[in-house]
């Protein structure tokens, strides 16, 4: 094998100095099962080795930022959930936090706890979908591939059932509202939630044993797709990817919001920066999220669930002039909403910082030098959701 040609990742152009062999340009996507959405990677290959990547995104673009300028503060939160549809609670959370920060709107303690419970269950549901699909991508290495996927979907369904009985919806919720949350817990919900949390906690251990006792899984995850700490910060990679690259940064700990300072949890950090490190971080996060849910259920305060009266019109919420950047720790990392209010019922400008967008931007820097099969494993470990990449 000749030396891998130099790939100038800043330009996504390839300068080839190969000796012999042919170069092939291959479209991976936009309809590729491992993309988990519509994503096209134009790979330049030398044999099986990737030497250049041009990532083509935008297939799901709906211009949420323009849309937000046309919708009121009461209307947009339920639309926000359509950015990251796998963790819909997260983007609603970021948007209402931005509006509340500018408007100095208090959120009752009970509503803050309900927000935390929803956000953490959402993280578990999102990580379950990631684990299942990632393992399916790596297919044969896991004895047929779909096994873990079906297990994970089975557990995720239980969380979606909880959301359904809470909100009435399974995928896109509209649970968060400026000033609080829309619904209080229905009777019997807490007990069902505890059962689900215990069940998932136990099952996570089963998956860990299934995967980490499997030498094929380890071979495909260890040492593959290494993101250095320097690269991760420079590109703006966040969430489990950043923590997998040795940075102990979690917004729930670094800049607590919505009463996260009340809960005990650890922030997992791995230093290798490879697919396995990202996997380990998420596996620990499962348990930490479940622990936070338990604590929140134990100490759930009584009281109102919103500081605002019921809405009589969609234009009722007015936010004074101002701007802020509100961020929350989503399942994929820092989800931020940069909001500029002009005193009217609608924002003047809203910018989404989608965690998946910045996480995906690291791919052109790390894929060169890997085999095509590893591209699938690396992309899965990044866990992009294209609704959030393209917004």
């Amino acid at each position: 094998m000749s030396a891998v040609p130099r790939h100038d990742s800043a330009t996504s152009r390839v300068e080839v100095d190969y000796a012999g062999g042919e170069r092939l340009t291959m479209n991976m996507g936009p309809q590729h099962p491992s993309a988990h959405g519509v994503f096209r990677a134009v790979l330049t290959l030398e044999g099986e080795t990737v030497v250049g990547v041009d990532a083509v995104i935008g297939y799901l673009h709906r211009c949420h930022e323009k849309l937000a300028e046309t919708l009121t503060y009461a209307q947009y939160p339920s639309i926000a959930s359509k950015t990251d549809y796998v963790a819909a609670m997260t983007s609603e959370f970021a948007y209402v936090r931005a509006a509340e920060t500018i408007g100095a709107i208090e959120v009752p303690k009970r509503a803050q706890y309900l927000r935390v419970i929803a956000a953490e269950l959402q993280r578990v549901a999102s990580h379950l979908l990631w684990l299942g699909t990632w393992c399916m991508d790596m297919g044969g290495a896991l004895g047929g591939g779909a096994t873990i996927f079906l297990y994970c979907i089975r557990e995720r369904e239980q969380i979606l059932d909880l959301f359904e009985s809470l909100v009435g919806a399974r995928l896109l919720y509209g649970f968060y509202q400026v000033g609080g949350v829309r619904y209080d817990l229905p009777p019997g919900w807490v007990a069902r939630c505890r059962e689900t949390v215990d069940l998932i906690d136990q099952r996570i251990g089963e998956y860990e044993r299934m995967l980490e006792d499997n030498p094929f899984f380890l071979a495909r995850a260890r040492g593959v797709g290494v993101i250095s700490r320097e690269l991760a910060e420079d590109v703006g990679v966040s969430g489990p990817l950043l923590r997998g690259s040795g940075v102990a940064f979690d917004l729930r700990r670094a800049a607590p919001y919505s009463s996260y300072e009340d809960f005990e949890f650890t922030v997992p950090v791995e230093t290798e920066g490879d697919c396995f490190a990202r996997y380990r971080v998420r596996m620990v996060e499962f348990r930490q999220s479940l622990a936070i849910v338990r604590q929140a259920l134990d100490r759930l305060p009584e009281g109102p669930i919103s500081s605002r009266p019921g809405l009589k019109s969609v234009a009722q919420i007015r936010i004074p002039k101002g701007e802020t950047y509100a961020r929350v720790e989503g399942a994929r990392g820092e989800v931020g909403c940069y909001l500029i209010a002009d005193g009217g019922p609608k924002p003047y400008r809203m910018k989404w910082r989608g965690a998946s967008f910045s996480n995906l931007a690291v791919l052109p820097h790390i894929l060169p030098g890997h085999k095509v099969a590893d591209v699938v494993a690396i992309m899965g470990s990044v866990d992009p959701v294209f609704g959030e990449v393209d917004r």
Binding site: S9, H61, C63, D234, G236, Y325, R353
Partner: protein
Amino acid sequence: MTADQAVTLIGERFPEAQVERGAPDRPGDPLVVSLRLDQWVPFAQVAKDALGCRFFAFSTAVDWKEQGLDVIARVDNLDDRVSVLMKTRLAAGASSCPSLAPVYRGADWMERECYDMFGIRFEGHPDLRRILLSDDWEGHPLLKSYAVDTPHPPYR
């Protein structure tokens, strides 16, 4: 590096930059630094090297109509929790701004999006082309002059 030290350092190196601190009851607020256009890239280099803000959170723009366009970037020091929100103003009708991509690799995609949505030409960007919209798209949707219902066949 504390926020106080950062403010002092910015004052020494960039005396013309305006620095706003967040409210004292909100310690997590970023330092908002308004810069002249020619200080945009030098400041980013100082923020990265001297302030330790190595994490590139995002960059974007705001259309203030006849007052021009604001270009905004946020960088964070993840160890010391110091954050800087950089701003610079492009004069009305101007659409050229120096690129941060040589300083932060994260600016690559962010500035492509900004070009796509606002038509801002980032000088020195290695690969400035549309990222979310198709290459044959006309106009830049996040400009205030671009109506939400602008038709564009064959897209809807």
